[in-house]
């Protein structure tokens, strides 16, 4: 094995900075020579550096920046990019209004990991299997990005380019994740499949969101986001379109599962075969739609 592939002790030398404000962070990242990486919880980045999978010349700790530590609920939910999964999962408005996000934040890694890992990091690491991404996307999250040319906002689903790759340009920092207030008669759920009960990475994951008509009979809008079955988190748009305007009975939900699986383009690896992952997407889509529907009808928390 080449030295780079080895589980290493040695992290290549790097510069470290912990700016107090966003402006300084952007300046540091913009002016860095070589690769520069923001550091929030570090649960991905530090492991990658130890394994020599990333060797940034500059690491910018963003945890001291006020905007990245916001967690508030008013006109929607604002989650600073450095806020930890535990904080999010335990935040009352998240538990009440965005239970799918709370569920996802509470199943990443272990308790220790959840205490450190940030939602912003889950986005920026851009792992196809990121658990917190599908529920955030399904709730219609917008990402606020700051960079040398000012701020921009993008729909969260447009953030990903490929495994480990995002649309962030040099010098840009993810500032916050903004979720709109959940519409009435809506509900969402996230499930992932792992062979164990914890401490594992999704073989497949599905986040589903549904909004029902005021009489709760038909689906007005659906959003289904798949994890670990494509190079990026993907929306199952055909399944979403199919559900719109339909009554969500078992048959419809099962058909949506079939359609959702067509949006998956998984690989086979040590965690599961492509064929199995496709089957799992069907199951998880059915199950998350079922829970989302119950929540939309106010039948479940």
């Amino acid at each position: 094995m080449s030295n780079k592939e080895k589980e290493g002790l040695s992290v290549d030398a790097f510069e470290y900075a912990a700016p107090q404000n966003l402006q300084d962070a952007v300046a540091l990242l913009s002016e860095a020579r070589g690769e520069a990486r923001p550091l929030a919880g570090g649960t991905d980045l530090i492991a990658q550096m130890k394994e020599n999978r990333r060797s940034p010349a500059l690491v910018v700790d963003v945890k001291k920046i006020p905007e990245l530590n916001v967690l508030s609920y008013g006109a929607g939910l604002h989650i600073g990019a450095a806020v930890s999964c535990t904080q999010i999962a335990e935040f009352e408005p998240v538990r009440v209004h965005y239970p799918a996000l709370a569920e996802a934040c509470a199943l990443i890694g272990s308790y220790q990991i959840q205490n450190r890992a940030a939602l912003g990091g889950n986005f920026c690491n851009a792992a196809p299997s990121a658990d917190a991404v599908p529920p955030a996307v399904s709730y219609g999250a917008t990402l606020v990005i700051a960079g040398p040319n000012g701020r921009r906002e993008i729909p969260s689903e447009d953030f990903f380019v490929g495994p480990g790759q995002t649309v962030l340009e040099k010098g840009e920092v993810l500032v916050e994740i903004v979720l709109p207030p959940p519409p009435p008669h809506s509900g969402a759920a996230y499930l992932r499949f792992i062979p164990r009960e914890e401490m594992d990475i999704a073989v497949a994951g599905v986040g589903s969101f549904v909004q029902l008509s005021s009489d709760a009979r038909t689906c007005e809008q659906a959003c289904i986001v798949l994890a670990a079955v494509a190079p990026t988190p993907v929306r199952a748009k055909e399944a979403e379109a199919f559900l719109t305007g339909k009554s969500l009975d078992d048959t419809t939900i099962a058909q949506a599962g079939e359609l959702a699986s067509q949006a998956a383009s998984p690989i086979s690896d040590v965690r599961g075969s492509a064929a199995y992952r496709i089957e799992l997407v069907k199951v998880l889509t059915r199950r998350t739609l079922g829970t989302a529907l119950e929540r939309a009808r106010g039948e479940a928390s």
Binding site: E7, G8, I201, V270
Partner: protein
């Protein structure tokens, strides 16, 4: 039997304070003045000729003090062996190749060179600068493929040994040994059967899962002697191997045992210590070698996989009439799989009048396997116990009743020839009959209950103990056996009862090879069993010496001295007495002399251990995932010296067996391990497991002062089949391959996938 007040109680571990405060010193904690750090250079090929190794770039790196290759190890005549335990010896020329490959690498990750540098970072960088020119060779990874005559040869000069005749094959082969044990007339037996079932079962390579990566350190002392600190299962065993491997006299080596963070058989051999010593000799500095988790998984030596065919026939009333089995165990790149143990463990629970048991030790381009808890037993029991379940089903007999009908008893002969002394299998099976885990109906869809048996022969070999009386009437025990499982505590309990003193007044020390009495390595469920005899003997020696002194004082003969509760008295006048305190105080006074008792045992009868596990599972039919609802372990432990520790051993073994059964496996691609991390090598985590219930049967073993049996190995044996049989009852589908992970169950229950792809899986009447 005598009444005991400490034996049979769950005394807290005597070494708990240092364990729970993190003060116990493990190999990786060593920090010696002037110490260098070693790093191993490993092969990126599973099979390749080493054409050239250029160490010049590594040597030129500042901070690097030495770079060695196999040429720097003393040469060793081919076939040189060292004793391991009992009659088992190890081929040290093979061990030398595992320590460092000389001309050819035979598995991915095999060591080819090592560096020593002033810090671990430089050592790692230097390891990357060792340039090795390889000529890749074709890789053989699968055990059945390796047995084919046209398979690439792992060793060009290895010829198959026919065990019965001791003859070698003309052609070189990847089969290192072939063995056959026969009894009775299997053809007649099958002809007499009402039903015959034949199946082939496959298991994968697995890791022991010890928490602590191997660690050792070596220092050459001013007088030229070598001190070695190591986290190994037996420091005397390591010394014995080093004597052969390095050509050092035993007197020139002092091996100091460090606390060990789990071994389970994987830390028996001196695979890293020679490198640390040679680097220390080259540099005249202490050298520490600690391997990484990835190295542990990739190349330190996992548990053996197997492909096993079993055929058995039975009459309608449930009597087994004949059994044949062929067990093919994958040894990895050097001979020595536990195939003979597999044959023994798989068949030991049954009376078999007509039997053919055939075994193959097969080589592949995978890491050389090492022992793993009941070595060879888990794959064999998975095959035999699943087959027995299918056979019982075929003739319509309850699986427990079927076992009871055919259970081995005292006086029966084990498959490899030895007669059974006293065993508790029948008594244990009777306990299952009335236990709620068996009698409570299991309701609900996708649920099923499975039963499987397990066996382990139990180890003997050499153990010794010294017991000293201190001037304050306390006792110190001195042993040479590494404490893997809480044996400091159980040995203390035995001595406390023998001397009738408080366990708080006992200290116990595991000493180094210079000071402690000789002992074989800790493993094979042998320490508590053999130490019971050694500690008993040493305690009796102490009491005899004390009684002699008491007799002198009391002016009676030794036979006339009674002892209880720290007082010696004359039997004819109980007021004529002397206290242990007084004799102890005087033992350090001038003219008296210390009290030192000695005990040693070297060849005890096996204390056969039988177990049965009952598992209730629920399957998610849409994903194939198994949830274990209830898990109960029955085991004949002879006598539980410390019930909590016994239960802990049973639970731990069951957990390892459950991991092996459900998710653990080495996944290879052209000989390269693809899941060399604890993320993707999936040991069970706490949430995956129910509370594991234990039910202890206590049928005393034939030998030993307390009737105890070793308990550590057997609980890893039954889980594979217990779960496979439960999954069958939950789904209607039998699985023939471990691990029964969700994906495998998903496809098997849908009638496709790789389930049972090896061999023919047919069944039917004869």
């Amino acid at each position: 039997m005598a009444e005991y007040s400490v034996i049979g109680t769950s005394l807290a571990k005597v070494d708990a304070p240092e364990r729970v405060t993190g003060k116990a010193t493990y190999g990786a904690d060593l920090d010696l003045p002037g110490m260098l750090w070693a790093k191993l250079v490993r092969s990126p090929h599973a099979h390749a000729r080493i054409k050239h190794i250029d160490t010049s770039r590594a040597k030129a790196l500042p901070g690097v003090k030495a770079v060695i290759t196999a040429h720097d190890l003393p040469s060793l005549p081919k076939g040189a062996t060292a004793p391991l335990v009992g009659e088992v010896s190890i081929d040290m020329s093979a061990i030398r190749e595992i320590v460092m490959a000389s001309d050819k690498v035979r598995y991915h990750g095999q060591v080819v060179a090592a560096v020593a540098a002033t810090d671990p970072f430089i050592a790692e960088e230097a390891a990357g600068l060792v340039d090795v020119d390889y000529e890749p060779l074709p890789v053989v990874e699968d055990v059945l493929q390796a047995m084919q005559p046209d398979a690439p040869l792992v060793h060009e000069d290895l010829h198959m040994l026919e065990e019965a005749t001791q003859e070698r094959s003309d052609q070189p082969s990847n089969i290192s040994t072939h063995m056959v044990y026969t009894r009775g007339d299997v053809e007649a037996g099958f002809a007499a059967a009402d039903a015959v079932v034949e199946k082939t079962y496959t298991t994968q390579m697995v890791h022991q899962g010890y928490l602590e990566p191997q660690a050792c350190a070596a220092r050459v002392e001013p007088n030229g002697r070598v001190t070695l600190w190591t986290s190994a299962q037996g420091h005397f065993t390591v010394r014995t191997q080093l004597v052969t491997l390095l050509g050092l006299p035993a007197s020139q080596l002092k091996v100091v045992p460090m606390e060990i963070g789990g071994g389970f058989g994987g830390k028996a051999l001196a695979l890293f210590e020679p490198t640390a010593i040679v680097l220390a000799q080259k540099t005249s500095r202490p050298v520490k070698l600690v391997v990484s988790r990835e190295e542990v998984l990739r190349a330190t030596g996992p548990g053996a996989p197997a492909v096993i065919t079993v055929k058995a026939g039975a009459t309608k009333d449930g009597k087994i009439t004949a059994l044949t089995t062929t067990m093919r165990y994958d040894a990895g790149a050097f001979p020595g799989s536990p195939v003979a143990r597999g044959l023994l463990v798989g068949l030991a629970p049954y009376k078999l009048d007509n039997m053919v048991a055939e075994g193959f030790d097969v080589l592949t381009n995978k890491p050389r396997v090492q022992a793993y808890r009941a070595p060879g037993g888990t794959p064999a029991a998975f095959a035999v116990e699943a087959l027995m379940d299918a056979l019982a089903d075929e003739i319509g007999v309850d699986p427990l009743a079927f076992r009871q009908k055919n259970a081995a008893e005292e006086g029966d002969t084990l498959p490899l020839g030895m007669p059974l002394n006293r065993i508790g299998l029948t008594e244990m099976l009777r306990q299952i009959e009335t236990h709620p885990c068996w009698t409570t109906p299991l309701e609900g869809p996708h649920r099923g209950r499975g039963l499987a048996l397990g066996y382990w022969i139990g180890g003997s070999f050499t153990s010794s103990a010294e017991v000293k009386i201190n001037p304050d009437a306390t006792a110190s025990i001195f042993v040479g056996t590494v404490d893997l499982t809480g044996t400091r505590t159980t040995i203390s309990q035995m001595v406390a009862d023998e001397l009738q003193i408080d366990p708080q007044d006992i200290t116990i020390t595991v000493g180094d090879t210079d000071s402690a009495p000789f002992a074989d390595l800790s493993g094979g469920s042998r320490i508590t069993y053999t130490m019971s005899a050694a500690a008993h003997q040493a305690s009796q020696d102490v009491l005899t010496q004390l009684k002699e002194r008491a007799a002198e004082k009391l002016k009676v003969s030794v036979d006339e001295v009674g002892y209880q509760a720290k007082r010696f008295w004359a039997k004819n006048d109980t007021r004529n007495e002397v206290s242990l305190a007084e004799l102890a105080r005087e033992s350090v006074a001038w003219g008296s002399g210390p009290i030192i008792g000695k005990g040693s045992t070297t060849r005890m009868q096996p204390a056969h251990a039988y177990a049965a596990h009952v598992a209730d599972v629920e399957i998610d039919p849409e994903t194939g995932k198994v949830t274990i609802l209830r898990y109960t372990c029955f085991q004949d432990v002879g006598k539980a010296i410390n019930p909590t520790q016994v239960e802990g051993q049973i639970q731990g073994g069951a957990v390892q067996g459950i991991g092996w059964a459900l998710n653990e496996e080495y996944i290879f691609d052209n000989g390269e391990l693809k899941n060399a991390s604890l993320l993707d090598y999936r040991c069970p985590v706490a949430l995956d497991l129910p509370m594991i219930e234990t039910v202890l049967t206590e049928v005393p073993a034939s030998e030993g002062p307390y009737g105890l049996r070793g308990v550590g190995e057997v609980p890893i044996v039954p889980p594979g089949a217990a779960l496979a049989n439960a999954i069958y009852r939950a789904t209607g589908t039998r699985l023939y391959e471990l691990p029964m992970n969700p994906e495998r169950i998903f496809w098997a229950t849908r009638g496709n996938g790789t389930n049972g792809s090896h061999g023919t899986n047919g069944s039917g009447g004869a």
